[in-house]
Symmetry: D2
Subunit: 343 residues, 4 copies
């Protein structure tokens, strides 16, 4: 049974059913169809009402990340990220390939602080040789982070203040957004996210869809001709309604929030099993990714029946990632917990 | 009823069924799964046996085009294309966005000739100021072309000879490959295509799949680290098995060839209806796209019940594109022909 | 003796003298020195008084061209140029290397018309699939053109009107600006150029300097952080005062205009010699470049004592370019004319 | 008197004289002249005899850096650099603008170690998800470094070994090469540099020329069409002989080595003056850049008569950079030392 990631199975069954139901319908191309419009409206219900939003559906996270960044920045401008940020270490230099430097800040538990961001921004603002250095113009954070952690509302507001003070856009990568919102340790809502971010995306691939991410643009400066950027960067699906359909199923009645919350609950069960067994965790992750520190023997025993991700070593211990997802069923978690109890 | 393009409906029903069947299976990520391997093997059965092929599945045509071109060319190298080539006029400058010039040659019926290509290559080869001009290093052609026409085997072999003579890669965009192979005017096989091209792709989006293109690399120089290019350019689907599954359904038993041939047959019925009615055609297209020249009145009458594509004017006449596809059903064509007969 | 181009000798002697005089002075770096400021002010005296101008000194023409274009355009935007424009055919794809498509229009005598530009702009404005095509956002013209011809004031004003109507920047490449202004057929002044162009440059390399081009930005939208673009694109000379010094020598008292006018007069003498001899000219060029159509025998005879540029064939005739420059001395022209008279 | 940098004055007088002498000579364009060929041969005399070298003259250091890197790397490949490396922090993201990530390693005294480089290379070599991360393919080091320090021959050979082991190019930025070679602490020769580096450059701008850097390519893989890269990146001077002339003057009889050695000797006098006065140095720099740690009062006193560079703070102390150069005269150093003695 695979706990190695949150994208190893298809989609929520309701999506497969809707796909089959619409297979013979003929649609306008490239996301100009009614399903995309309806899905966008369904999402808008959950957003802060003080702004208007353009919503676009893209095929995947890397694509969403570099398309947003390339659309927002001028050639000499850079984006600030955690050194553990997905754009910084797991996208094959996609952002640099569009011509922009990533200013990587040391992470703490996957996060960067308003203080560190401000220091970087202030260095530029105070510089007397600005033309020799890149201008930090965007801050990229992930919610949840790549290490499963969450920014608190206070932390997000502090970061936003720095962004406002130094004229930087705030971009939130929500590839696992559902698992953040569904965490019992979370105090942030989609309303907060949409109010604070200039642009963000809601992940579908890892949160119930076959594939697809919904990019939400709240800042008017970033809206013009965004479809041109999507097309130029290979993200404009001919049958764009495939994406609209999936997000409509997920957001029409809040299914997205239910299935991701359930996944986090299953992750907590795994976390608790490790804790009760006295096996150390790399961090007390509040979301669907759990990182246990295993001995070689423990890892080998778990491997016999379960698939998980090796994430390197901490001293002599193996860092092992166990992910739940919208598709995780209770019986799978039960089986994993039984094996944990055997360690 | 929509005849405006060949991507207005979902997928062949066998694909939807396979999707539903595999929805609860857990797969390795990013195209490293068995379905992708099986689909690649299924495709290989139809290719020329004298070479080995790397086969990759990408999400769409624009993405396939610029990813292949960016992977093959050095910054000062250019790609030769028809001025009507998709990369030249309908991809928002995606190729230039990767840093490469497109040398656009005048098309004849959507095609470029070996002679014109050689002239361009020779100009560079003979130049005494090479460092001031771009080096033509790749030839891009579409099979069928954007205007529905086909290169003959002789034409392809002539182009290949020029490519060999001047050290240029031959890249064939097969977004509508099935409709070319299924044409009764066609004398080119997939074996020929794979033998002659250094790299090409077989279109899924327009030929039976929900989405996806199979990039086939036969030239060893173009194979190393191609997956890095896919990832960097946003084309690596987390659930890559979705693409493998679709191409396996289409190529396991030759379904791809059957459904596209049927679509071409339906297109011929439309073509004949126009001809019998004495309505001029822009060209005698041998594939699934038919271009009729209509008066304003004729267009308005047809528009009442059918959707087609306006492609500009030729003199006083409207150029109207009617596409069939794998999803076109005989009854739809019957209805269109009835309306044509009323003109 | 070399008539092959206008950059085969050093600089006006006054520049060499000034260089020697300032060699032991210590200057602030990167163009922040007084000489650059003085040179900019000297140039401003000749510009239209209704706008304010930022003036930057870059090392060469290709660099000026792509730096200006990369600073002005967003990734999906394109620049319109004559197919004979320097950016289109003699800069090794430098503009495409920054990610932008050049929309090449057919030239007439090296020029493009307001009508053709408008047609291209209107096609985009009227398009219903804008996200699939590039947006023309800048018009690039050369004054004089690469073929030695000149736009009239009326032609420039018509082009400017189209630019205004369709929100496009007008960029004038003045690599040979002096030879245009010094032509007796010219009715355009630097005041006109600066009033009509959003950005342009005044060539030094071909017009009296060792090297260097003065980029003049009149449109406020194009001014912010232009120095960052210069640095990023390798055009920021550590000893920037070298460029300021040269332009100060050329513009302090109008030396630039005198030496280029004299060169055009010498070119007219060559033109007249060919005409009196009955040797056809490719065009009646009003500037320092003259293009004669020679038989093989004539070319061989001229080659014995003079260097000129082969520019291809027109039918059986060799197109031969003869350039004068600020450094051409009367005796050299006399010698060339004597040889012409022997043909 | 300016000690703020090593590029605040013109050129060695012999260069100014040569310029004047050649001003009326007519030359072929773009570096195809005899002076460039002679200068290249003069440089070759000092290089390791076991390889053949292509030598090109570019206008400046940033340009040389990104042109070399863009010519050597494929889009998904990255360059390893010290975090204090010039490409990493003082070139406005020029390398990223060409599409490549810089992997910045923590510096020690401006240097990176073979061990740290190997760790980075090994991480990639061992990775099972190579397509998700950038491939380190080049190592960039500066000799001397931006902090004035020098790699020993042993350190360079260790770095080269790692490069060979992991198929990475070694690129040495020699903007201040002369000041490294002229250091009495140095055990590295140009023969060593040329033997170990795949490509490097010898700085002219800071070492006696008005401007210009000599790029030396020893690895055959990096030679083809390098002139196309130069032109495309704006570095091909029309009057290329200006660069050839300067390097010929500097290398014909070893002038380059004499004037830079003299500058280092003057720097040592400044260093000793600080040390004798008990004023702490940031590091015992073996080259022409000296970094003193000053109190606010000391800095203010020195500022009255001398210009130096503020390089930030260390605790309460101001880091002040004092540079000598080929143009520094003994009387200037004497004056500075007198003021130091007053502190």
């Amino acid at each position: 049974m695979r706990f190695n990631n949150d994208y190893n199975k298809g989609a929520h069954p309701a999506i497969i059913k809707a796909l089959a139901d619409h297979n013979d319908t003929s649609f306008p191309g490239y996301g100009t169809d009614d399903l995309c419009a309806m899905a966008a409206d369904s999402i808008r219900k959950y957003l802060d009402g003080s702004k208007e939003y353009d919503i676009h559906f893209l095929e995947g996270g890397t694509q969403a990340n570099y398309t947003v960044i390339a659309s927002a920045l001028r050639p000499y401008q850079a984006v600030i990220s955690a050194d553990t940020g997905h754009i910084s270490c797991h996208e094959t230099g996609a952002v640099e390939n569009t011509g922009h430097k990533i200013i990587a800040l040391n992470n703490r538990d996957g996060k960067i602080s308003a203080e560190d961001i401000e220091k970087t921004a202030k260095d530029y603002a105070d510089s007397r040789i600005k033309e020799h250095i890149v201008m930090p113009r965007m801050v990229y954070i992930s919610f949840p982070t790549e290490l499963g952690s969450l920014y608190s509302l206070k932390e997000l507001e502090d970061i936003k203040s720095v962004c406002t003070k130094y004229s930087m856009y705030l971009f939130i990568d929500g590839a696992r957004m559902g698992y953040g919102l569904g965490s019992s340790d979370n105090d942030v809502s989609l309303k907060d996210i949409s109010r604070l971010a200039d642009v963000f995306y809601i992940g579908g691939t890892k949160c119930g869809a076959l594939f697809g991410e919904a990019v939400v643009i709240g800042n008017d400066e970033l809206k013009p001709d965004f479809r041109s950027y999507i097309k130029q960067n290979g993200g404009m699906l001919a049958k764009g309604w495939l994406l609209g359909l999936q997000f409509q199923v997920l957001f029409e009645d809040g299914l997205y929030f239910q299935i991701t919350k359930k996944a986090v609950d299953e992750a907590y069960r795994i976390r608790n099993a490790f804790m009760e067994k006295g096996i150390p965790l790399k961090t007390i992750s509040p979301t669907n990714q759990q990182f246990a520190l295993l001995t070689k023997e423990q890892a080998e025993h778990l491997e016999k029946e379960h698939v998980f991700e090796f994430e390197g070593m901490e001293g002599d211990m193996i860092v092992a990632r166990f992910c739940t997802s919208f598709a995780t069923v209770k019986e799978e978690t039960d089986a994993l917990i039984r094996t944990i109890n055997e360690l």
